[in-house]
């Protein structure tokens, strides 16, 4: 009985490492295959173009084009320079609010927040590309024939922007010269202001000759200081030289967030 037990134990302890070793080598193969990346970015410059649109439009909407120049100084970090401009305008909701307020009998109020439109921007920041992977399945079997390699990244940066603002409640000129007439000119302002940007995105490497091409999809937020006036008088605002209508700047107007979806292309040198 003891000899049988001993033989069973010997069999168990000698067979166990066989399966463990086989599993370990399989994991090694898989790990090395993903770790040895098909697309390396270290030491490479990038030039790209992004097109974006604002996700949640309340009173303004933005359509943005950005030039992206990056240098990947290591595999997982890159310096990113972003510069571009936007086509901006009021939404139909803003126009409706303006029309309804103009016809109302409210004589004194506060201006609305988040009306600054970012016309141009320039930021410098850091991109952290901490995930590298492959997607297969339907993409591989049916659509492209090869798995798609990708990076997932987080980017943060700061810089400056040029902004314009048109009020929807403070009217400086009406057709009749009095409150209630059709508004011909709303309060308009411009300013340059600091901008902070934060982005989450994917870069999909295109499996073409040269390993230079990639597509990007990202969600990017531009944050900047808001400002507007309170306690303005509609009649006073029609007086030339008193565009603010005796209103005073709000002491704590908060921060505006412009959240956009950007789609772009990059060429790596």
């Amino acid at each position: 009985m003891r000899s049988i037990s001993a033989l069973v134990l010997v069999a168990f302890f000698t067979a166990g490492p066989a399966f463990a070793a086989e599993e370990e080598q399989g994991a090694l193969v898989e790990k090395v295959a993903v770790k040895n990346r098909l697309f390396n970015t270290r030491g490479r410059f990038e030039l790209g173009l992004n097109l974006g649109f604002s996700v949640l439009n309340q009173l303004t909407e933005h359509y943005t084009g950005n030039l992206n120049i990056s240098f990947n100084f290591v595999e997982t970090f890159a310096i990113e320079l972003l510069a571009g401009g936007s086509y901006t305008r009021h939404t139909s909701l803003a126009n409706q609010v303006a029309d309804n307020f103009n016809k109302s009998n409210v004589m004194s109020s506060d201006d609305l927040s988040n009306l600054w439109e970012m016309v141009a921007n320039g930021t410098l920041g850091l991109r952290w590309q901490f995930l590298y992977g492959k997607i297969g399945g339907l993409l591989q079997d049916v659509l492209l024939g090869n798995p798609i390699h990708f990076q997932f990244y987080v980017a943060v940066g700061g810089g400056a922007g040029f902004f314009k603002r048109e009020s929807v409640v403070i009217c400086n000129q009406t057709s009749t010269g009095r409150v209630g007439g059709e508004c011909l000119q709303y309060l308009t302002e411009t300013k340059a202001s600091p901008v902070v940007t934060l982005a989450l995105g994917w870069r999909f490497f295109l499996p073409t000759i040269g390993n230079n091409h990639s597509l990007r999809v990202e969600v990017r937020d531009f944050s900047y200081f808001d400002s507007y006036v309170e306690n303005f008088n509609r009649a006073a605002a029609l007086t030339p030289g008193n565009e603010l209508g005796n209103g005073t700047p709000v002491s704590n107007p908060g921060i505006s967030n412009l959240v956009q979806v950007h789609v772009g292309y990059s060429y790596m040198f």
């Binding site: 193969v29 040895n36 949640l56 609305l112 992977g133 798609i148 390993n211």
Partner: protein, 358 residues
């Protein structure tokens, strides 16, 4: 005899250990030259330059950008095979079939989403929690069901700003709030892949797409928050709900996954009654209230919840000075129902949760 049989059995079980340990060295003499990428590793993966039959000693061309350098050249290490793959050969880039680490077929999955936040809240804000169940009938297909409760469902700061500053607000149907709901449908997994985090941690993930249908309970804001007290709401009934969504399912262990999804809940919003009371009911109760009589004396339909407009709202505090007479909401509710509005709303939410697979 018996001992001999047991010994034979033991040796049979233990044999793979010794065979595997001797596998790599036994193959070395046969791999004197760099071999083409082995069939098992690369036959269904992306194309890569095949290994040259003879390494050229000079001149050595600079490596192309993006090329992989897997180790020193010309050493015995470069000829070593691991599971038949020349991992250490600098002239060969090894790629493998995308293999799913964990099987899903016939598995059941319970998902808990403690954080569900609306991302497209123009006139409304929703924050809630959800509980889901998925039955994976196939590797890439399953049936799913989910229940959702928005413990925060209020009008947005933007809508309140419009009310305060311009005396305007969104139409009642456009700002209708989703209290909660349930839906069932299907889930498919067309894409799967893996990623490595900082060259150390290999993680498998799948892209999931879902679609379903169900119902949701809705309400509207009657009185905004002001000096008279907090905001008041009126129930506007159940609505048909459709769901479509997509996201990522990251599996860390055999039994636990992390889900990050975007789901859009689409429902037809109409305000034709408040608290089950239609325009006729609200008008009758309003007339009783204006006459100084209790609203419970009004002649209303069977579905009308008269108690909603009777008595005082105490806000669960002992300060009787701020108690709110509920019948004051009658005029507000009547105006909403009188100017009937309808809309199709999209409640796009970000769902972050953890699932248990069994």
């Amino acid at each position: 005899m018996r001992t001999a049989l047991i010994t034979l059995l033991s040796l049979t079980v233990a044999a793979p250990a010794f065979a595997f340990a001797g596998d790599a060295p036994a193959q070395e003499p046969a791999k004197a030259e760099p071999a083409p990428a082995p069939a098992a590793a690369s036959d269904d993966d992306e194309d890569e330059p095949t290994a040259k039959p003879e390494p050229k000693p000079e001149p050595e061309k600079p490596a192309a950008l993006g090329a992989v350098d897997t180790g020193p050249k010309g050493t015995g290490e470069s000829q070593k095979l691991v599971s038949g793959a020349p991992l250490y050969n600098p002239n060969v880039a090894v790629h493998i079939v995308e293999q799913k680490e964990f099987e899903d077929k016939w598995k059941r999955e319970v998902s808990l989403f403690p954080a569900v936040a609306q991302v497209n809240g123009k006139f409304s804000n929703h924050v809630g929690a959800a509980l889901g169940f998925t039955w994976h009938l196939q590797e890439n297909f399953g049936l799913m069901a989910m229940g959702l409760f928005n413990y925060v469902n209020v009008q947005s700061g933007f809508n309140n700003e419009l009310i305060d500053k311009t005396r305007q607000e969104a139409q009642a149907a456009t700002s209708q709030l989703l209290v909660g709901g349930a839906f069932a449908g299907v889930e498919v997994t067309p894409f799967y892949g893996k990623f490595v985090f900082y060259d150390s941690y290999l993680v498998h993930f799948a892209v999931v797409l879902s679609a379903g249908a169900g119902a949701g309970n809705t309400r509207v804001q009657l009185k905004p928050a002001n000096d008279a007290g907090p905001a008041t709401y009126g129930d506007t009934g159940w609505r048909f709900l459709a769901e479509i969504g997509g996201g990522f399912r990251v599996q860390f262990l055999k039994w636990i996954t992390l889900r990050l999804e975007l789901r859009d809940l689409v429902y037809a919003a109409t305000v034709s009654q408040v608290a089950g009371c239609n325009l006729t009911d609200l008008t009758a109760m309003d007339e009783e209230d204006r006459a100084g009589r209790p609203v419970t004396g009004a002649n209303v339909s069977g579905s009308c919840n008269v108690d909603r407009f009777d008595g005082f709202e105490t806000w669960n505090d002992e300060d009787m000075g701020n108690d709110y007479k509920r019948s004051r909401d009658l005029a507000l509710a009547r105006n909403l129902v009188k100017d009937q509005s309808s809309d199709v709303l999209n409640n796009l939410g970000f769902y972050l949760g953890v699932s248990f697979v069994f």
